[in-house]
Amino acid sequence: MTSTTHKPSLTAAEIAQLDERRRGESLWMSAWKRLIRNRLAVIGLVIIGLNILMAVFAPQIAPREYQKQILTDKNSAPEWVTTIFPNMLPTEKGGYVQINNDYLLGADNLGRDLLSRIIYGARISLLVAFVGPLFAVLIGTTVGMAAGYFGGRLDNLLMRIVDIMYAFPTLLFIILLMTFFRFSTATPEPGTLAFALGDLDRRTGGMLFVFIGIGMTSWMQMARLVRGQVLSVREQEYVQAARATGATTPRIMLSHILPNILGPLIVAETLTIPTYISYEAFLSFIGLGVQQPTPSWGSMIADGARQIASYPNQALFPALALFLIMFAFNFLGDGLRDALDPRMRGVD
């Protein structure tokens, strides 16, 4: 996506003028300015910000408890929903839908408030959105930098490991990992590591293993990207200069190379976040993700999809929430790409 406010080509004089104006501000500052000039990226940032607020203050915002079942209210819907979906006829008009305006978006098939569950569900999706990149950065960047900087045998070994991991069909591998974690920690002896992990997983509503599963598959792409980037800057003058002045290897890697390759890494990782979010949603959709009653948009869509013909609202609202957050991260990623690498603007 290109920014709608930007003119496609600039004359040399205009570029010089821009450079003049830019002097005295850091690279990151000017990137930030470019980013907030991009309307779509700002929309993405705002959506993400609102979601973060919603996740943090879920107990304060949610009108009800997310796990509370009121079976007499099951599948009820407010009046406005039935006007949008005319085939959801209210009972008083001879239909099957119980009208209850206390639920802003309706209640699910166990009589739980959809709105409250969507608000709490933001916690899972956002945590995945930050945990995926965390693993990718911790493992992927370390592996990639080591491979790219030291080269030779180490490079060969690390990249062959990445190649092998790439041969795994990702989703199948995650399913296998999830089953492994869930079942091997289901009934162990207290006091063992397996018990501690399983306990932590159950207490986090099944989030822990989802994070580990996604994290273990998220770092390979990053490792390849970082390696390529390191290779391209390793022999540049400023690195040689640093080496000549006697900088230590960790110092060269962390304060000379890393800042210079950070841009592409941030862009790539932001654009991968929607993938992590959809993995979680998918895992919860097939029942291997977070465990009931913890709400996840994926499991809500799965529940709703089962009765989509009768109560489309139960799948629609969590789907909208999921769509919006993925949309927001995609916009932000595109905006970041334009902002951090102006040469690439409009070229994808």
């Binding site: 709608t4 069909p169 989703l171 199948l172 399913i175 296998l176 079942f183 949309f327």
Partner: protein, 338 residues
């Protein structure tokens, strides 16, 4: 070229070996087996079943036998009879060695849970379905993505460009688990245009193929656009225009031909990704493909089916990547086989 392919094939064997070892360890580390007593099997029956399928042997022996059955090819005479324990995926007749002689390879063993079926039989029944679905999705991705990308690049920074790229960004933002139920609701329930789920006719294929292919079409559109924009800035395009060729000739013959190279090269991995990634779609649309068995096989500890599926898909992925490398070198002679 030949040496390159041989080297990559050897590398593929190593990859498959490691993949199978990791899968085996993960699967066997999970407590419970396919015939455990909580599944209602009496202990003596469980023991004899485990003996029948070699599950009572030491793990390392089981692993070596399993991998050996798959990797080691066999030459068989006319007396070969297909059985639960001997069923090969690849059977090449060798008439020179006599009637019925054949070169056989890849015995994935019997399924532990689907009674009297071998994993190969399950593959033969279900893999074609997944491949059909994957091919149809690939067609959807190309048919939507490439034209969108071309339009966006040729009308750069116009409303058409923004609209195409807007569609693309919406496409990548809708996961299949959203797309599929709503396609079912709109086309199946509301408008009654297409069957909600199932398999067998062209109508059954449309929705799952679209659900699977749409997100990829967005990626194809971006790739096509980026590639075409880059090509349009090349000197040889200016030369073609300077020669006085019509704009249509310049675009169709000079620009598109080169711009589509990256698009062609991603088709291989994309196809592999689509075929191996069908099972969300298959679950939702009740398509009888490979995906149907995978999740239940994992929970049922159907070791051979899980291992077989992962290995077969790994072969797909590795071959697809190898194909890209070869294709690249062939399309761009500057790249050497390193």
């Amino acid at each position: 070229m030949f040496r390159f392919i041989v080297r990559r094939m050897l590398w593929m064997f190593l990859v498959l070996f490691v993949v199978s070892a990791i899968t085996f360890v993960l699967l066997r580390a999970v407590p419970g087996g396919p015939f455990n007593s909580e599944r209602g099997v009496p202990a003596p029956v469980q023991r004899s079943l485990e003996a029948k399928f070699n599950l009572d042997k030491p793990l390392i022996e089981q692993y070596l036998k399993y991998v050996g059955d798959i990797l080691i090819p066999r030459l068989t005479g006319p007396d070969f009879k297909r059985s639960l324990t001997e069923d090969y995926l690849i059977n090449v007749p060798v008439p020179i060695l006599g009637e019925g002689a054949a070169f056989r390879w890849m015995n994935f063993g019997p399924s532990l849970r689907v009674r009297s079926r071998t994993v190969n039989q399950l593959f033969l029944e279900n893999l074609p379905v997944s491949i059909q679905l994957g091919s149809a999705a690939l067609a959807v991705a190309l048919a939507i993505g490439v034209p969108l990308g071309i339009i966006a690049a040729l009308r750069r920074n116009t409303a058409a460009d923004y609209a195409s790229m807007g569609v693309a960004i919406i496409g990548v933002s809708i996961p299949i688990i959203i797309m599929a139920p709503f396609l079912q609701y709109l086309f199946g329930v509301q408008w009654r245009l297409l069957p909600v789920s199932g398999w067998g006719t062209i109508q059954h294929l449309i929705m799952p193929a679209f659900a699977l292919g749409f997100a990829q079409s967005a990626l194809m559109a971006r790739l096509t656009r980026a590639s075409l924009l880059q090509v349009l800035g090349e000197d040889y395009i200016r030369t073609a225009r300077a020669k006085g060729l019509s704009e249509r000739t310049v675009i169709l013959l000079h620009a598109l031909k080169n711009a589509l190279i990256p698009v062609v090269t991603v088709i291989g991995p994309l196809f592999a990704a689509l075929v191996t990634g069908t099972f969300v779609t298959e679950t939702i649309f009740a398509v009888p493909g490979m995906g149907r068995y995978f999740v239940t096989s994992v929970t049922n500890r159907d070791f051979t089916v899980v291992m077989g599926t992962i290995l077969l898909y790994a072969v797909f992925l590795v071959l697809a990547n190898m194909l890209v490398d070869i294709l690249y070198a062939w399309l761009d002679p500057r790249i050497r086989f390193a």
